[in-house]
Symmetry: C2
């Protein structure tokens, strides 16, 4: 059995795990990222500590490589270029530094790309060459597989689907633009919408959770439970998810779109609606060879995706 | 010097030419497509006639291969699957039939893909591996180059960018959907808009051309000449072109977008405005490595693109 370490660098936590080639996590840990120190030194030390802790506890397992997923853009050499949440890593040679420390190959990529690599190696994307994994959470990111490999584009930005404009001059997005897809179809977008409706006095069972406990999960629960407003909010999100996925179908003609991220926890309730709307908006000839699936990696997607990056990069 | 024949199958005319490896058309002809007979036999005979005429007149030139561009979707074997304008060719094995007739390799692809291959081999796309050629005319089509090759997607539909939805429930599109990009940024869309404004009595010099002589060219001319309404129409088209190109930038992070088709005749007047709007809507990190160029193939894009398909396919 061979093993790689997967590290998921998040804005709040660093999650790391030892993963075997079948995709089983044999050991894992979680520590705070330490962004509040606003220092790359501190965050890098925390990453190194998490890796060396795992290695120390598992001396019997030879680690072949380390994969890291970052909430930003990494180039082919594992240098980090821009970061959405953790600002301390502009142009940071993360792969090089970790490789020097641990003397094994280290690969770094964007977390949405790694989510796709995880599905490709261990999950819903097995055996496929041209597919897209969409992670729907605070924003919407994508990892694009073309000809059996992650497609990075010119400087690592490929897959920034959340900022595809679908309504010029429409809802404001966190990026500063108006009308981005993620302003209509992300978890944050429906939370915002729900809070706004409660504030306006619209009759909804969501008032129980207002303001701080309204999240995507309770919106789905209340929608399933019969709350008309929750259902409308959820339905609208699915409609916009369908629109964006149809755009991806029309541009890339992939064989599959895999939906992951927090919102995918709604499972069939989400899948059925998103399929319906995608079928309305996509070119029929492209849609007939296309399918939409739920991601299979679940809560450990970050660790598994990063480990999958390490396994697949070793093979290249 | 080596030669290929490029055939451009249009809804009205078949254009064919003998092209050398530098991209010079050494002989060419044009005959009616003959769609009114509504028979694949008739159209195929016209294609064969145009090829054999060229061959007869140029017996001294050894033809290495034939490339055909069709306004529809072709698979990797040159079978035509669906057609936008010429309905007689559903599931038609065009490459096979022409190969049997002329005893040389024959390659068939979508005309927007061939436009991209033409720019790649002979024009503005030389030396690039990841770029998109957008053809803006009646509709908007695209040929996508990824890793130095046309990307076809699962069943040849990749690049149907004209039907990317940018305004859910917005302007009706010829495809039956609402809010497609080409309903806002194609030549037909601005012609439609111009006619509608004239009909409403808005003061514009376009009235001189109403109704049948309003086309993209006169709108550009009147805009340049100072007509405020023509300028507004053109500016709006450029804004929407910028939006769609920005979406392509955010999804694919290409190094370049090349604009061809009738609308690109407006040259710098178009280019400057489209660049401006794209820069507003694209992710800055992706935009900083991106450029927008005008296509270089001009009126012979169809013949040159189809010949380029033949030349590049021979090399594979």
């Amino acid at each position: 059995m061979s093993f790689c370490i997967g590290v998921d660098l998040g804005g709040t936590f660093i999650k790391a795990g030892i993963v075997n080639e079948k995709g089983d996590i044999v050991d894992s840990l979680q520590i705070p990222t330490g962004v509040e120190a606003n220092s790359s030194l501190v965050v890098m030390q925390n990453i190194k500590d998490s890796i060396s802790n795992l290695m120390l506890k598992n001396k019997d397992k030879k680690i072949k490589a380390i994969g890291v997923g970052v909430p930003g853009i990494a180039d082919d050499k594992g240098n980090i270029n821009i970061f959405s949440n953790i600002r301390v890593f502009e142009n940071y040679p993360m792969a090089k530094e970790l490789k020097e420390e641990f003397k094994v190959p280290v690969f770094v990529d964007n977390d949405a790309n790694n989510a796709a690599t995880g599905e490709f190696l261990f999950g819903a994307g097995k055996g496929m060459s041209n597919f897209v994994v969409i992670t729907v959470g605070t924003g919407i990111g994508a990892g694009i597989f073309i000809n059996g490999k992650i497609y990075h584009g010119k400087n690592g930005c490929a897959g920034e689907v959340g900022h595809m404009l679908i309504d010029l001059d429409g809802r404001p997005c966190g990026c500063g633009n108006y009308g981005c897809w993620e302003a209509f179809a992300s978890a944050s977008s429906i939370i915002k919408r729900a809070k706004s409706l409660v504030r306006k006095g619209v009759k909804t069972t969501l008032i129980k959770y207002y303001p701080d406990n309204i999240n995507a999960k309770v919106i789905v629960e209340e929608a399933k439970g019969g709350d008309k407003i929750s259902l409308e909010i959820f339905e609208e999100m699915c409609r916009y998810l369908g629109l964006g996925i149809a755009n991806i179908v029309n541009i890339l003609n992939p064989e599959c779109c895999i939906i992951g991220g927090g919102v995918s926890g709604a499972k069939e309730f989400l899948l059925e609606k998103v399929k319906f709307y995608t079928s309305l908006y996509a070119i029929p000839f492209a849609y007939q060879v296309f399918e939409i699936k739920l991601a299979e990696m679940g809560n450990d997607a970050g660790i598994l995706g990063s480990a999958a990056l390490a396994f697949t990069s070793l093979k290249d």
